[in-house]
Each structure stands twice: as structure tokens, then as C-alpha cells.
Amino acid sequence: MCQKREFCNTMKYFTPKNRLALLAIALGLGSASCSRYFAPREQAVYTKLQIDSTLTGDSTFLQLYAPYREQLEAEMNRVVGYTDVNLTHPRDVPETRLGNFFADALLAEGKKRHPDAELSFGTKGGLRIELQKGTITMGNLFELMPFENEMVLLELSGKSLLQLAQFIAATDGQPVAGLRMRIKDGKAIDITVAGKPLELSRTYKLITYDYLANGGDNSRGLSNPVSRTNLGLKVREALITYVGEQTRAGKHINTQLDGRITHNQ
């Protein structure tokens, strides 16, 4: 009963008559187990509530935004493609299907304009939803990449790319394509680009997007590129094109994990 201490303190504020009312509320909340609802001293009574089934949407609200919704659905329900696997994005592993799909798409679309691009890089925080097995709609791709970010080609020194790899290791993996590495004690080792070991003495062409190239997500290695080219193409548009072309070729998305970033075992 001591756990009711805070509740009892509140009683000081009430006249005897009103105490009963407050007690009534308390018993109403906590008839099963008092300790469940009355936290220790200095914590308020805490309850997690679910609304009941009679709580339906306010029809004036539904009517108010119905015209917007109709326009949105007309544009967003269009099926762009299909995925045979759940493109998931768990945060406790260095490589994910969603991250691979995203970075692969970025690199493929970047290479159409710059065939000498060798790798791509995005960040986990930029991928806003997972894609479930089945159809991929316009709406899905808008929600995956809602931002108006535009693609950028950066020419980086080998040293800068090493810095980027160390950032990727320190943050336990990020979406990449063309780059492979292992993470040992928070450091990147065995780094390869397009199948060859990283050479500090040469430069590399990397596809990413303006948010990251401008310093977003505190990534490292991108701030002093040898050169920068803005592609004038939104990341989302690149994803739509990538998925659409797979569909027109009669293919489904079937991204697998390929060990591009692993923990050193």
C-alpha cells in the first residue's frame, strides 16, 4: 500500500467528501492491482489506455480531407512494381535488405549518368518505412523516401573514402553498394570498392544525395570532395525509375543480404 504514497499526497487537496470521489477513480483504474497503477513516490499514477470500439473517426474530419485523400490515392495507389521478399530494416544488424535495395537502386541510377561511379552511400535514418512483400506502390516509395533530396556525385580521395568507411563502421553499418567491409571493434577492415582493395592514393566516384553531401547525419569523409556534381534528380524519382524498369523487364525485386558489411567473427 505504500506505493500509494503519491496518491495519498494528492488527498491533501481534497475535502473528505471529495476524497471518496477520487478514491472511486483510483479503484476504477486499479481494481486488479494497485501497484500496477500507483508508481512509487514522485511518480504519478500511470495508465496506458486503449480507446473503445465506439470511438470512430469524426466524420466532419473525414469529409474535410476527403478531396485531398482522393487526389492522393489517385496518384499514390499506382503499382510501380513487386517485391518477392520483405525489405526489412532492423537497426541492430550492419546490413539490411532495405538498405541494400536502396543503395543498389541509387548506384544503378547514378551509373546511367556517370558510368564511372563505383559505389553509393545513404544513411539508415533516411529510410522511413520498410517495404512488405507484394506490390510496391507510388505511395510506398514516397513514404520510404519522403524527402526532396537530390542525387549527387562526389569524387573522393582514397583517404576521404576511408574516413567514410570508418563512419559507417562506427555507426554499425549504413546502406551502401559497391563497397564491402568488415567491422572489427568499431573499425572498418578489409575494405574493397568494386571488388578491389581500397587504395588511398587514387580517387573514387560515389553516388549519394545532397542532404548527406551538405553535412547531414554528421557523416564523415564527404566534406572535402575533389569534385561535386549535382545530378538534378530526386532520390525518390530514381527509386521509382529503378523499380519501374524491373517491372517492365518482367522482374520482381528480390534483394538478398550478400555480406557487404559484416561483423568480424
Partner: protein, 319 residues
């Protein structure tokens, strides 16, 4: 339990009956506060709703079917019908995340929040996603203020379009509300927030909270924070803010999308408690904090804290 009359259940039910139906929605029924000296205040809050106008789609994902602005509106209306003093607040990132924002630029989100009677929100990092121009374009659709004290917009087109704080009066009670935003560097593309000056959140908060308490005689000071709940290291968060300030009673947080299992109270520089609460994201939950104020003594107490999960579920009380 000192001073409490012992009471058996049957007697209690009889007594409870004299006060009318107990609220199914929780909190303190008005009947419990017949005494003029006591004022009940119900604070309802959301954060990081991210343009989630419709409930999450039924696609097998974790949050399918949850949230939705129309059901939240019904819930808020019901609570307003039960409580005299309600304050409906949001902690930023109202936009970005569904095509409603891509297609309509924030108009739908802010019009619906206005209709629901939101009384204030703050500027989160995603409010900058269409640049200062995009933000300036959408703000007129909000009939409530965007409160932000540590983004200095005076050299930008947003000058005069936001406020540092607002004071709300409920049954004579003065409640000061101000807003704090997260560091822009590394978070918002510099081309989208050009010429915005970022001011130290802790110094800003201390100055403003003191002014609200001392000069403007507010009984209660709320910070709408988009700093984030807690980080590893020294990065300023709601927890760091609470520990290093005076005069803030409540921090309604956002940014980190944290589903806090319960509000957290932390001793501030005055040795008083500053309470932090944050309710996830996407409008999945509506947070609710019920306070009681004693007019004469100036004492206040958080009596109940709850969060409603916006779902089709049938369980009313689900501890």
C-alpha cells in the same frame, strides 16, 4: 494511508454513484473538484505525427491500423466534454512522412490540427524540409502558434511568423508555454535553413522560464521540445535540459520517437521536479497528463498520466 477513511467496496460503489458516472476516458471527473480552490488541468499531447492523416495502412507492418487524425479528433472532443480545462499541444515534426506533405505542402496537416483545436506546436527539424519558403507557406494554415525560442529567424522571411512563448489562461490559471528546437548543424540541410541562428537551448530556456514564472506570474511552465529524449554523450536532450534548468514544470518532448513507458520526473537546478513525457510518433498515441492546482497555496500535482493508443481495440482500461 494515514487520514484516509477505510472503506469497503460496496460502500464505495454507493458513494461513487452519488458523483455520477465515472469517466471512461480517465483523469479526474469535474465532480471530484467541487472545491473552488482546486483547478484541474488536462494536458493532451502528440509529437512527430509526420503527416499521418490516415491510420497506418493495413499492410502487415507493425503499426498497421493505428493512429489517424479523425479518431484522434473524436477522442479529444470526448475528453473536452468531460474536462473543463484542456490544453492540446504538439512537440513538432507535424509534417513529412506521407504524400500528404509531398502533394499539399503541410496545408492538410495544419488545417486539421487547427480544427481539432491544437493550441500550440513547435518547429521540428522536418518543418524545414521544404526550406524556409515552404515553412512560410504552410504556417498560415495553422490557427495556433508555432512556439520556438532558440531559432532566431530575424534575418529570414520567417521573421515575426513564430513566437517564443504563449500564455494560456484556464479558469484564472496562467500557463506559460515555450518551444525549443534541435541543433540544425548536421540535422537540417544548410541550404534549407539559411541565415537561421541557433541559440543555446539551455540558456534560452532558463531565461524564458524565469520570465514566465516571475514576470508573467505563470503557475505552470511547459516546454515543447524537439531536442529528443536522451542521448549517449553530452548532446543536449530533454533529460539534460531538465537537469540544467529551473522553473520548467513539464517538458513535452519529440524527435527521438520515444514511446516512454511512463513520464519521467527529474530534479532540476532548484531541486524541484521537472517531468518529461513523449508519446512515440505518427499519432499512434495521444498523451494525457492530469494536474491539480491549489489556488491559494500555489501547489500543484500531477495526479494521473496516461497514453491512449488510437486503435479499433475494444479494451478501455488496458494496464
Amino acid at each position: 494511508m494515514e487520514g484516509l477513511p477505510t472503506i469497503n467496496r460496496r460502500h464505495f460503489l454507493k458513494q461513487a454513484g452519488t458523483f455520477g458516472t465515472l469517466s471512461l476516458l480517465g483523469g479526474i471527473p469535474l465532480a471530484a473538484l467541487a472545491n473552488e480552490d482546486h483547478i484541474a488541468l488536462t494536458i493532451l499531447h502528440t509529437n512527430d505525427v509526420h503527416s499521418r492523416i490516415d491510420p497506418f495502412p493495413m499492410d502487415g507492418s507493425r503499426n498497421q491500423g493505428l493512429g489517424g487524425v479523425a479518431r484522434r479528433a473524436t477522442l479529444v472532443e470526448r475528453i473536452r466534454s468531460e474536462q473543463r480545462n484542456v490544453l492540446l499541444l504538439d512537440a513538432g515534426d507535424t509534417v513529412q512522412g506521407t504524400p500528404y506533405f509531398n502533394l499539399f505542402g503541410g496545408k492538410v496537416e495544419l488545417e486539421l490540427m487547427s480544427k481539432m483545436g491544437y493550441e500550440a506546436s513547435t518547429i521540428g527539424n522536418h518543418e524545414f524540409d521544404n526550406g524556409l519558403e515552404g515553412l512560410a507557406k504552410m504556417l498560415p494554415y495553422a490557427k495556433f502558434p508555432f512556439l520556438t525560442a532558440n531559432y532566431d529567424f530575424s534575418d529570414t522571411m520567417l521573421k515575426g511568423k513564430t513566437r517564443e512563448y504563449s500564455i494560456f489562461k484556464k479558469q484564472g490559471l496562467r500557463i506559460g508555454v515555450f518551444g525549443l528546437g534541435i541543433e540544425l548543424d548536421g540535422m537540417v540541410d544548410p541550404t534549407l535553413c539559411r541565415d537561421v541562428r541557433y541559440l543555446d537551448p539551455i540558456a534560452t530556456a532558463n531565461t524564458l522560464a524565469e520570465r514566465l514564472k516571475q514576470d508573467y506570474r505563470c503557475s505552470f511552465v511547459i516546454c515543447l521540445s524537439h531536442l529528443g529524449y536522451k542521448y549517449q554523450g553530452n548532446k543536449v536532450s530533454d533529460v539534460v535540459l531538465a537537469k540544467n534548468t529551473r522553473n520548467i514544470d513539464l517538458i513535452i518532448g519529440g524527435h527521438t520517437h520515444t514511446f516512454m513507458p511512463a513520464p519521467e520526473s527529474i530534479r532540476n537546478l532548484n531541486g524541484e521536479l521537472t517531468t518529461i513525457n513523449q508519446v512515440g510518433f505518427g499519432g499512434i498515441n495521444l498523451g494525457r497528463l492530469d494536474y491539480v492546482f491549489e489556488q491559494q497555496s500555489g501547489r500543484k500535482e500531477l495526479v494521473t498520466a496516461s497514453s491512449y493508443e488510437i486503435t479499433d481495440g475494444v479494451s478501455v482500461w488496458n494496464g
